[in-house]
């Protein structure tokens, strides 16, 4: 297997620089891989082959002209909720069928400036609402490690395309675990950056105070390289932070010692009903970190148990307003009615899937007069407690080790009839979004049935460098990231 699509950003950058391959070669290999595998995996919603090859050609010309850019000629897949000028942006929803984005999201402009090739748009749960990509209205995605299993979600397509070598890396978004959980299910690396690190301008909002765009990749190093391109203050996003972006990629060295590093193990994160294989894999990873010199201490995040409840109040409340703009007036689907209100009702009834409707109704309810204080306001108070939990823990340690999910990827259709059961799977990822800090997910083992298991490394706000360092050290001294699925 020497196809270029199997390689990493770091490896391909070296080859490109050495003149051993061209960007057109890489894109051709990626497209060939999509041709042979995506019929089974179903990661992509749309691919603009001509445009991808054209961008690759331009990248090769730029390189020939002496240009040096961090992502020059590297094909990246884009989650279908990021606006790319001239491309569809459906959020895997019928309500946005036909919509063509009139502008570039800030992260897309940054990728273009960095020389990346925008490859195509990958599947997701509709409007990022879900944990299995089964809520997608416009596509069906499978886990490359076992096609009968879910890829996770909502960034299921972003994780599946990277795991199947149908892209070199991808962008996803994480509102309650939507990067980390599919990364864990598909055996790749995913980073949820600190809230405010990456501009949300052009990211179709699900829950504005929780959403963050982040990379999914084959290695921690690649995520670091991509993250470096994505981060930075943007005047178009008032919640993005004015802060220097560290050289995440360069700062990852071959020194894999974790000596002097204190890692916390939250007792609340080994929840009841956790799959023993997941528990064992994570504990083995903890032991491995110790062997690299890290000190491991037990810590407590006592309010984590409320995270699911708080998350599903705040996220749905914000979503109920964020999704109000999809009304059939200016773009996307329109089902006519006798007056505007009827037009809205018919359009939204036809355009939104059941999970989206469920969350809009829930969010509308918790904001209603008479219920606001009991739900939304109280949830905000508990959110502060959850944030304080993390602040306390990060006084004692540099990073937290935890599982990403209670189980490996489950079977397609296994949980679709029980949304509540699916919500509960977010228990280990949502607290980080509520607190606003950063976390990384990377492979740390496999189940007996051959499904990947993820390790979550949680960092303090703006401590991306720390979690990348721990992740890189763990990854480079283990073999998990080298395994490839047979599709």
């Amino acid at each position: 297997m020497s196809e270029l699509n199997n390689l990493t950003i770091a490896e391909l950058s070296e080859k490109l620089a050495a003149g051993e391959c061209t960007s057109v070669d890489i894109v051709n290999d990626v497209l060939a891989s999509i041709d042979s595998n995506d019929g089974k995996v179903g990661a992509y919603l749309t691919i603009d082959r001509a445009s991808a090859l054209e961008q690759a050609q331009e990248a090769d010309e730029a390189r020939a002209a002496g240009k040096k850019l961090p992502m020059l000629g590297i094909p990246i897949a884009i989650k279908d909720l990021l606006n790319v000028k001239g491309q569809p942006c459906t959020c895997s929803s019928k309500i946005l069928e036909g919509y063509v984005a009139p502008y570039d999201a800030t992260v897309i402009s940054k990728l273009r400036e960095a020389g990346a090739v925008l490859l195509g748009r990958v599947n997701m749960d509709e409007f990022a609402m879900g944990s299995s990509t089964e809520n997608a209205a416009l596509g069906k995605t499978s886990n490359p490690w076992n096609l009968a299993h879910v890829p996770g979600g909502s960034s299921g397509g972003s994780a599946a395309c990277v795991a199947a070598d149908e892209a070199i890396a991808s962008l996803g978004s994480d509102t309650g675990g939507s990067i980390r959980q599919p990364a864990a299910f598909c055996g790749c690396v995913g980073v949820k950056p600190t809230y405010g690190r990456v501009s949300r301008y052009g990211l179709t909002a699900f829950a504005s105070s929780l959403d963050q765009i982040g990379p999914l990749s084959k290695t921690v190093k690649d995520s670091a390289l991509l993250l470096e391109v994505l981060c930075g203050h943007d005047k178009m996003d008032s919640t993005s932070i004015e802060m220097e972006v560290p050289s995440f990629g360069k700062n990852l060295t071959n020194d894999h010692s974790l000596a002097g590093m204190k890692l916390g193990l939250p007792k609340e994160y080994f929840v009841e009903g956790m799959d023993p294989e997941v528990e064992k894999a994570v504990h083995d990873a903890v032991e491995h970190c110790k062997s690299l010199g890290a000190e491991v201490v037990e810590v407590s995040l006592p309010h984590s148990k409320y995270a699911i409840a708080v998350y599903y109040i705040i996220a749905t409340a914000e979503a109920s307003a964020n999704l109000a703009r999809f009304d059939g007036i200016r773009y996307g689907l329109r089902v006519d009615g006798k007056d505007p209100l009827e037009l809205y009702g018919k359009t939204r009834a036809a355009g939104f899937g059941p999970e989206v409707k469920r969350r809009i109704i829930l969010g509308t309810y918790v904001l209603s007069s008479g219920y606001y204080d009991a739900y939304y306001k109280r949830a905000q108070k508990v959110r502060t407690l959850i944030r304080n939990d993390f602040a306390e823990v990060f006084k004692q340690c540099d990073a937290i080790l935890a599982p990403v999910t209670p189980t490996p990827a489950y079977k397609l259709g296994e949980k679709t009839d029980d949304p509540l059961k699916m919500y509960l799977d977010d228990i280990l990822t949502t607290p980080v979004n509520l607190a606003g800090n950063c976390a990384l997910s990377l492979p740390c083992g496999f189940s007996a049935s051959g499904l990947p298991i993820g390790l979550q490394i949680i960092g303090d706000s703006f401590a991306e460098e720390t979690i990348l360092k721990v992740g890189h050290a763990y990854e480079q001294t283990t073999e998990w990231h080298k395994l490839k699925p047979k599709i």
């Binding site: 606006n83 502008y103 909002a205 829950a207 008032s238 919640t239 307003a321 007036i329 209603s368 606001y372």
Partner: protein
């Protein structure tokens, strides 16, 4: 039983900002529909609002002009409702932490000085403009997202006259402060009016009726008068007033029911997660305060005390900002305030209203008027000739001095010429001469008129008078 009305106003004022409240689009009244739009003000997926700092400054300055307290911490909220005038189907506004708190406005109503108190001023974004045509509704998003502030009065007014005086003063202050042009026809000032009626002596207010979105001050006055009568009559007949929103039919001069309380919106306000709270330091407030312009009331006082103008003149000159600013400019070129005032109140206003143009378009500039006044003061021309020159400049432009020369309007003060005319007048009019000599001083005016006539208005009246007196008294 006697009844009294209580009135409160929520006045929306469009601020004079270069760009919209949360995006970089311009606003231009009357532009071709939907040309000043972008992903933000059209509510496209992924677009985010960015706060317009200038709007915040103007809102706070409006607050300072109205003696509000500037809130050191204010925040943004989403007000949710589905209607095609709001692209996102929520409006970004300020619910519980507005930019300005309290404040008041002192006005004169029928010779009585009254102070009306404010509850708050908050900043928000404007809605799009909907037009309903046969079988369709059209939306123009040019206005969508423009900077709009809402000034909320307390329920402290009791008559249509109170409300009218309040609105007139508010409009005047906003214009003076450079906050807004407040043109009602352009929708730059619109009010929601709350009216309730209760028996005199009753502590709690009666059921409130809200009349929404009115531009014209005259209609607001009519609507209030109609509502007070309607509600009073209802109560007098033992009925009760329904709390509701009513519209105003300007053709019939009546209000009509639109929406009752049971059908009221639940706006589901919650904090806007896309924007940071607004923090304003005490230093910033002081900086803004130091930049505030002089208000009409302050100008009136100064015109009387420093420039020695009569109260009446000061009132007329300050009634609108454009006139007052024009007067200020003229005063940079002359010391003669009364002459400037006379010209503005007389020739200027007459000619402006004939031509139906604003003072800014007058060809008589402040500097040229000062030039005309200088010619009169130097006795080069008479006041009458000055008015002639004014009208010529007003119609055709030109330099006053050159016009005086060209038209031969300069006064004659030359003794020999005056003497000839005086002698002729005395010789030709023995009767008035006799009467004057007999003690009727006014008779000299007739002789004076004869001299002016002979000189075709060019004789210097002062010099003529002196010459005549010298001859008759001597």
């Amino acid at each position: 039983m006697k009844y009294e009305a209580t009135i409160g106003l929520e006045t929306h004022i469009m601020q004079k900002t270069q760009t919209k409240m949360f995006c970089a689009c311009r606003y231009e009244y009357g532009a071709e529909p939907n040309i000043h739009v972008c992903p933000v003000c059209l509510g496209y997926p992924g677009a985010l609002p960015v706060m317009n700092e200038k709007a915040i400054e103007l809102c706070c300055k409006a607050g300072l002009l109205l003696d509000c307290k500037i809130n050191p911490y204010s925040k943004w909220d989403r007000k949710n409702y589905f209607y095609p005038d709001m692209a996102k189907n929520y409006q970004i506004t300020q619910a519980d932490e507005p930019l300005c708190l309290g404040g008041h406005l002192t006005v004169e109503v029928d010779g009585e000085t009254k102070t009306f108190t404010l509850e708050r001023i908050h900043q928000e974004e404007n809605a799009a403009k909907n037009t309903h045509v046969a079988g369709a509704s059209l939306v123009d998003y040019n206005r969508a997202g423009t900077a709009l502030m809402e000034i909320v009065s307390n329920p402290c007014m009791h008559s249509a006259a109170d409300a009218l005086a309040y609105l007139t003063a508010l409009k005047q202050i906003m214009e003076y402060g450079g906050i807004s042009d407040c043109n009602p026809e352009k929708g730059q000032i619109r009010s929601d009016v709350n009216v309730s009626v209760r028996p005199v002596g009753q502590k709690e207010l009666g059921s409130k009726v809200e009349i929404k979105n009115m531009n014209s001050f005259a209609f607001i006055q009519q609507a209030i008068e109609y509502e007070i009568d309607r509600q009073t009559e209802l109560l007098e007949n033992g009925g009760s007033v329904v709390q509701e929103t009513r519209g105003f039919d300007s053709e019939r001069g009546e209000t009509f029911s639109q929406r009752t309380k049971e059908n009221a919106h639940d706006y589901r306000y919650f904090p806007e997660p896309d924007l940071m709270p607004v923090k304003i330091s005490a230093e910033q407030v002081e900086q803004w305060r130091s930049e505030l312009p002089e208000l009409p009331a302050q100008r009136r006082v100064r015109y009387v005390s420093e420039l020695g103008l009569p109260e009446y003149d000061a009132g007329v000159l300050t009634a609108d900002k454009a006139t007052s600013d024009w007067f200020e400019l003229a005063m940079q070129h002359t010391q003669n305030a009364k002459a400037v005032s006379n010209f503005i109140m007389g020739e200027m206003m007459r000619l402006l209203s004939e031509k139906e143009i604003p003072i800014s378009e007058s060809k008589v500039t402040p500097e040229k008027l000062a030039g005309i006044i200088a010619l009169i003061d130097a006795k080069t021309i008479s006041t009458g000739a000055g008015k002639q020159v004014f009208e010529i400049v007003f119609n055709d432009g030109g330099d006053p001095k050159a016009i005086v020369e060209e038209k031969g309007l300069a006064q004659v003060s030359d003794d020999s010429a005056l003497e000839d005319w005086a002698d002729e007048a005395i010789a030709a009019n023995p009767k008035p001469v006799e009467e004057y000599k007999a003690g009727n001083a006014a008779s000299i005016n007739f002789l004076m008129g004869q001299v002016m006539k002979a000189s075709r208005g060019k004789a210097n009246p002062g010099a003529v008078m002196q010459m005549l007196k010298q001859k008759l008294d001597g």
